[in-house]
Symmetry: C2
Subunit: 480 residues, 2 copies
C-alpha cells in the first residue's frame, strides 16, 4: 500500500523538471508505455479510452458535415510516393520500407504510409468521372509511420494514430471553404471538449505541408510555454490532382482537375491534454473527455448499508455519467483518493455512514480540490452542474494560463529576452520573408507557429528580424 | 443512364459463375476496389459503413463483458516473433518485413504484425505483478498483414481489418470460459445482426491456431456450398505466457503463469454477408447491418407537393432509421430502383401523387420483391415491423439454404459423390487421426471445418476415412 502511495508521490514536480514530470505522469497513470521497438508506443487502456472519446466527438462532426469513412492500404509503392515532387522530398527521408513479403524479395519497395495522399489520389483518379459525383468527402482513421530520431509518447513517435480527411471539390473556393470548415471543427472540439484554447491561423511557406497550396493550423500552448501544433488542414489546390491525373467531366462538358484538401488530428491531442491541464498530482481530465467522470469511494465500507447505498447511487448515476466504483478492500480510502487524483478523474464522490444519515454525498473536485456537499435528492442534477462547472473552469484556467504566457515583442532584443526568461507565445510583426523566419529559428530556436486569422495592431509595423515593413502579425514559440 | 443501367444488368448470374458474380457485386456496388499493390484492397465508403456497423455491435458487447480497448505497435522485432516455436513456424512464411527506417538499414528486421500475441505478451510480462490485477480483458481494433499468394477481397487479402482480444486469467477454467464466451458473442452477432447461421465447435489439431492449446470456430456456409471460417477464439493455455515469461504472485504468494486467450473476427464477415444473402440482382443486406435501411424514391417528383412530402417523411423516419433520399433528376425512378436494389437496401419507399392522395406509401422489400402498402399515419411502426420481418426472413432463408446444403456421408464414396455433385457441409464420423484428415484433404480438397459442440448420431461409428472406431461427428467442406 505505502509502496503504491509512494508511486504517486514520485511524480517529479512540474516546475522542477517538466519533461520528467510528463514522463512520470504518462507512465504512472498507465496511459502509455514504451514498445520494444525504439520510438514506438503502446497505448494502454486508460490512454486509449481517451482516444476513443476524442474519436467519437470528431467522427460525429465529420459525419454531420457529410463525410464518410473508408480504408486505404497500409503500404504504398515507392513509385506512387514519388509522383508529387514536394511531397516525396518531405516524406521520403522518414518512411519505413518493406522489402520482403514472406520469403520473397519484392520487385518494388513499399513504404508504410506516412500519410495517404498518394495512394488515395491514385484511387480517386480511377473512380472520379463526373461533376455529379463531387464533392468527394472522405476520411480514414488509421495509424501512420514516420521514422523519428527523437521521440516522446503522444507528442512525436514513429507510429501514431490519427484521422486523415481527403476531399475533392469542383472549385478552389469550395476546397478553401472545406479546409477552413475542418479547421474550425478541430478547434471547436479542442476548445469545447478538451478545454484547450487554440490559436488558429495559417502556416508560413516554410512550415506548410509538403505539397500543399496552403496549410492552416491550430496551436496550443503547454504549461512549460512551448507550443504544440494540434491539428492541420491543407488546401492542396490541384498539386496532387494534376500529379495523379485526377480528371472529370465538368458542368460544361470539359475535362477538369478537381481541387483537393486533406486534414488531420492525432493522438498528439492526448499530449496536449496532459500538458495543458495536468498538475503536480498528475492528470487533470476535462469531464467531457475523461474515461471516468466520477469515482465513488465508500468510506467505512464495512459498516452496514454503506456499500448497498454506494451501489444504489452508482446505478442511478451511470445512466447519465461514466462512473467507477472503488470498493477494493486492499487499499485505504486515503490511498484510493491519491490514486484517482493522479488519474485525473474530475469528481470523487465519498459516501460514508454519516453522509447516508444526512442524505448527502461529498463531491471532491479534481481541478481545484474543493469539496461540495450534494443532496442525494437531486444527485444527477447536482453532478451534471458540477461537471459543467469543472469543464468551464478548466477551459478558463487554460485560457488564462495561455494569456499570461503570451507576450508581444517589438524588436529582437525583447524577443530573445522573453524566450530566455518567460517562454510562451510571442506575438511579433513579420515581413513575410523566409530568411527572417530561418534566422529567428537559428538564433533563438523559436519557429513561426502561425499567421493568426485574428490580426492585431502591435503598435509597430517593422519586421521583428529585418526591420523592413511588415504586414503580418504572427505567433512565434519554441515548439514540440 | 442506360449506360449505368447496363452496369446492373452486367452482374454475372450466380449459378453461371459464382466467383465472377462475387467480383461483379463487390466492385459494382462500390464496396471495395483493388489497391495498387497486388493482394491489397481499398475498402470504399459503402463497404466501410458495413464494417463500422459490425464493429459497433461487437465493440458494445466486448465492453458489456468488461473488455477495454488498447493499441499495440504495428511493428514487431523478429526476435519476439520467434519466442513461441509453433507460432513462428505458422506465421513467419507470410509476414512482411521492414528493413529500412528512413535512410538507415535497421539492426534487426521488423515484421508488420500478422497478429499481436508476441508483442502483447512482451508487454504483459512487464505489467503483470499480482493476481489482484487479473483478469486482463483487453482488445484491439487494427489492421494486420499476411502475405498471401492468392487473394480475394474481404475473404483473403494481404492486409485486412480485424479485432484481436488478448486476455489473461488465473485459472485454466476461467480462460476456457472466456474463450467460449467470446465465441458465443461472435455467433450471437453473426446470427442476430448479420442473419448468418453458424456452426460452432472446435478446430482439429491440424487446423488450430499456431501456438494454441485449443481453437474454437464459427463456420458459415456460402451460397456456392463452400464454408467460410468466420471467427475464431483460442485457448492459448500457458504456451505464450511461459515463452514470454509472464508471471505474477498468486493468491498463495507463489509465482505463477497466467492462462491466456485470444480471439478475432475480421472484415471477412463482409464477404460472408455477400455470399450468404446476395442474389442475381446484387447485394441483399440485413436491416440491422445495412448502412442504409431504407431509401425514399419520389415518383413524379416534379408534381406539386411530392418532394415536400418525401422530405417530411424522411425527417420523420431518420430519427429512428438510417434513411437516404434519392431525388436526383438525372435518373428515372426505374433506374434508381435497380441501383438501390443492387446496393441491397432492405426497403425502397415509393411516394407519388396518388400515394399522397391516399395517405400511404409503397414499400418494396429487397429480400423477396414484395410490395406492401403502408399508411402514413403509423409509418414508423410499419417500417419497424417490416424491417424486423426482413431481418428474420433473411436468417430463416439462410438457415434453410444451409440445411439444404448440409449432407451426411457414411463412407468415402458417398463423401466424394456429394462433393462432386452437391457441394456443401458434410457431416461425417472421424477417428481423430490427423492422417485421415490429411488424406481426405488430398483426395477431395475438403477440410475438417470443426468438431461441433452439438454432436449427432449419424447411424455409424466408423471413421469416414480409415473405417476405425470414431467418436467424433465432424463437419467437412471445401472452404474459402
Ligand atoms: Zn523580415
Ligand atoms: Zn480415421
Amino acid at each position: 500500500m505505502s509502496n503504491k502511495k509512494e508511486k504517486v508521490r514520485e511524480i517529479t514536480p512540474m516546475d522542477e523538471d517538466f519533461s520528467q514530470w510528463y514522463t512520470d505522469v504518462i507512465l504512472k497513470t498507465e496511459l502509455v508505455d514504451y514498445a520494444p521497438v525504439k520510438g514506438f508506443m503502446v497505448i494502454r487502456p486508460y490512454g486509449y479510452a481517451i482516444w476513443e472519446n476524442i474519436q467519437k466527438e470528431y467522427d460525429n462532426r465529420f459525419k454531420e458535415t457529410g463525410h464518410k469513412n473508408m480504408y486505404f492500404p497500409l503500404l504504398i509503392p515507392e513509385s506512387l510516393l514519388q509522383k508529387e515532387k514536394d511531397h516525396v522530398e518531405g516524406f521520403a527521408p522518414e518512411v519505413a520500407w518493406v522489402t520482403h513479403g514472406g520469403d520473397e524479395e519484392l520487385g518494388e519497395r513499399l513504404c508504410i504510409r506516412p500519410t495517404s495522399e498518394t495512394i488515395i489520389c491514385n484511387m480517386y483518379s480511377k473512380w472520379l468521372t463526373s461533376w455529379r459525383e463531387l464533392p468527394y468527402l472522405y476520411n480514414q482513421w488509421c495509424s501512420v509511420v514516420r521514422w523519428e530520431k527523437s521521440t516522446r509518447p503522444f507528442l512525436r513517435t514513429s507510429e501514431f494514430l490519427w484521422q486523415e480527411g481527403h476531399t475533392l471539390h469542383e472549385t478552389y473556393e469550395e476546397a478553401q471553404a472545406e479546409t477552413l470548415q475542418m479547421l474550425d471543427i478541430y478547434r471547436e472540439v479542442a476548445e469545447n471538449i478538451l478545454a484547450i484554447p487554440m490559436v488558429v491561423g495559417q502556416k508560413s511557406e516554410r512550415e506548410k505541408f509538403a505539397g500543399a497550396y496552403a496549410t492552416y493550423t491550430m496551436e496550443a500552448l503547454m504549461y512549460d510555454g512551448k507550443a504544440l501544433q494540434s491539428g492541420t488542414s491543407h488546401n492542396l489546390g490541384q498539386h496532387f490532382t494534376k500529379a495523379f491525373d485526377i480528371t472529370y467531366t465538368d458542368r460544361n462538358g470539359e475535362i477538369a482537375y478537381p481541387y483537393h484538401t486533406s486534414w488531420g488530428v492525432s493522438t498528439r491531442l492526448i499530449g496536449a491534454l496532459i500538458m495543458v491541464h495536468g498538475d503536480d498530482n498528475g492528470l487533470v481530465l476535462p469531464p467531457k473527455v475523461a474515461p471516468t467522470q466520477l469515482v465513488i469511494i465508500p468510506v467505512a465500507q464495512h459498516k452496514e448499508g454503506v456499500l448497498d447505498k454506494a451501489y444504489e447511487i452508482k446505478k442511478q448515476l451511470e445512466k447519465q455519467f461514466r462512473v467507477e466504483m472503488d470498493d477494493s478492500e486492499s487499499y485505504s480510502p486515503g490511498w484510493k483518493f491519491n490514486q484517482w487524483e493522479m488519474k485525473g478523474v474530475p469528481i470523487r464522490l465519498e459516501i460514508g455512514p454519516r453522509d447516508i444519515e444526512n442524505n448527502q454525498v461529498v463531491a471532491a473536485r479534481r481541478d481545484n480540490g474543493e469539496k461540495v456537499i450534494l443532496s442525494m435528492d437531486h444527485l444527477n442534477e447536482g453532478i451534471e452542474k458540477l461537471l459543467e462547472e469543472i469543464q468551464n473552469s478548466l477551459y478558463n484556467k487554460a485560457l488564462k494560463m495561455r494569456e499570461e504566457k503570451t507576450y508581444i515583442a517589438k524588436n529582437k532584443q525583447e524577443f530573445t529576452k522573453i524566450l530566455e526568461t518567460t517562454p510562451g507565445f510571442i506575438k511579433a510583426m513579420w515581413c513575410g520573408d523566409v530568411e527572417c523566419e530561418n534566422k529567428i529559428k537559428e538564433d533563438t530556436g523559436a519557429t513561426l507557429r502561425c499567421i493568426p486569422f485574428e490580426q492585431e495592431d502591435l503598435g509597430t509595423h517593422h519586421c521583428i528580424c529585418c526591420g523592413k515593413e511588415a504586414k503580418k502579425m504572427v505567433y512565434f514559440a519554441k515548439a514540440y
